[in-house]
Subunit: 266 residues, 2 copies
């Protein structure tokens, strides 16, 4: 048994969609969340910059004595996971592998769509992992960089969101995919809009649930589950702006006040 | 006469629209540009974070021995200009004052629109300066946060841009404004789309030209103009990603390769 908290981090507030699943799947675990709201977004930035920012965050979380870390951010998971596991001794779980496993068990026609930030799509991480499991799977990828600001603006269900989704997803729809992976933590905030555009025959895969399940299995296998009742949650952000509160309310149905952390010092 | 370069900085690549005007108005001046592409955008972040980032950039530019600095970024100009002039001895010129002066000389019906990032609009900097010059001017302000990612995506003339502009600008249009200030360096990249939505009777004011003129007057009055022929240009960015090249080509009609600067150290 291990009473230390789990660390979860993201480029910004999108990772709260992963926190939500961890709260459900592991209700007795304490969580320390860090959102890099001062430097969000990561998806348009280079691998070197994303790696540097992520290392700073992991060093910060280690000072909070976490027992394991979830990289909620797809851009970090798909670009820097290997380097980060080499750099740090602490157990780290990322979101791409669990998302891929879910998708493989769902697709029937083996035509899969993947959407994410520019950096996630450029890395081909989803494509490589899908093909490694089943080389017959055809993967159609599309970067959708406007989805993050649309979600942060609270416009996830607006006419602008629908038009933008139609523009981004038209080629995927033509490819007759039966499954689409939301390869960015912000995209669940546009889920109903994306569902409308891809149609009811396309299953939507959000890697968050499978990621939380993977953390549960890991903690169980290693006798690291917390045996107390209920979880304590602590939120940190590099910039404490208003939208943390509003997205927190949308995703977690209540406001958790974020504390500011000077991440550049780590 | 002063042969040192002028420093120009912005949250990202948008400030290149200001560099373009400085090149035109002051063709014999050398320019050192810094774009904070690793931490862009600033417009959704808090005043404290924007101030901290700006101070780091000014310290960086001072190491490059600039003789004066232009804050191309409206978010910085409208939120931190006074604090920065108190902190640093170097002459600093910002964009809000020049934009306001242009606008006051253009409006006839004294109904003015101002668009910018959330932080710029929240600061009320344009509104206060317009009212200080002419208290009869009515100011209608609107934050348009999706315009920055649309510009960075190269979608400034797309159907998505037009629909977004219609959504953001509908109230301003109803107010019968005769003049609109582009209170963000990215917005000139959506100029034709904005013009279409506001109609031909509304004059569009880009503060960049008046800002370059102000720098020219300042250098002339203080005998600080450079007397050589032609200018040398040097570009730095905190993250060197692909879109620096593409926006450089769009704005300046050629690629200037940006060097990477580790801004967090300053």
């Amino acid at each position: 048994m291990d009473k230390r908290p789990i660390g979860v981090f993201d480029s910004g507030v999108g990772g709260l969609t992963v926190v939500k699943q961890v709260m459900k799947v592991l209700p007795n675990e304490d969580i320390i969340y860090f959102g890099d709201t001062a430097r969000v977004p990561y998806g348009s930035k280079s691998k070197e910059t994303v790696k540097k920012f992520s290392s700073q965050i992991i060093r910060f979380l280690i000072t909070k004595e976490v027992k394991a870390i979830i990289i909620a951010c797809n851009t970090v998971s798909s670009n820097c996971y290997e380097e980060l596991t080499e750099e740090f001794d602490i157990p780290i779980i990322e979101v791409v592998g669990p998302g891929v496993s879910s998708c493989v068990s769902i697709t029937k026609n083996k035509k899969v769509g993947v959407i994410g930030t520019e950096a996630t799509i450029r890395s081909k991480a989803y494509e490589k992992k899908l093909k490694a499991i089943d080389s017959e799977i055809s993967v159609y990828s599309k970067a959708c960089p406007l989805f993050v600001p649309i979600a942060e603006e609270g416009l996830g269900e607006s006419e602008i969101a629908v038009l933008t989704a139609k523009e981004y997803l038209k080629e995927l729809v033509q490819m007759n995919i039966d499954c689409i992976i939301l390869g960015c933590t912000h995209y669940p905030l546009l889920k109903s809009c994306i569902a409308k555009v891809v149609g009811e025959n396309v299953k939507i895969v959000d890697p968050a649930m499978a990621t939380a399940q993977k953390m549960k299995s890991f903690l169980k296998e290693n006798n690291m589950l917390n045996d107390k009742k209920g979880g304590d949650y602590c939120f940190y952000a590099s910039d404490v702006a208003d939208n943390f509160d509003s997205i927190c309310t949308t995703v977690l149905n209540r406001i958790y006040k974020a504390k500011q952390a000077d991440i550049e010092k780590y």
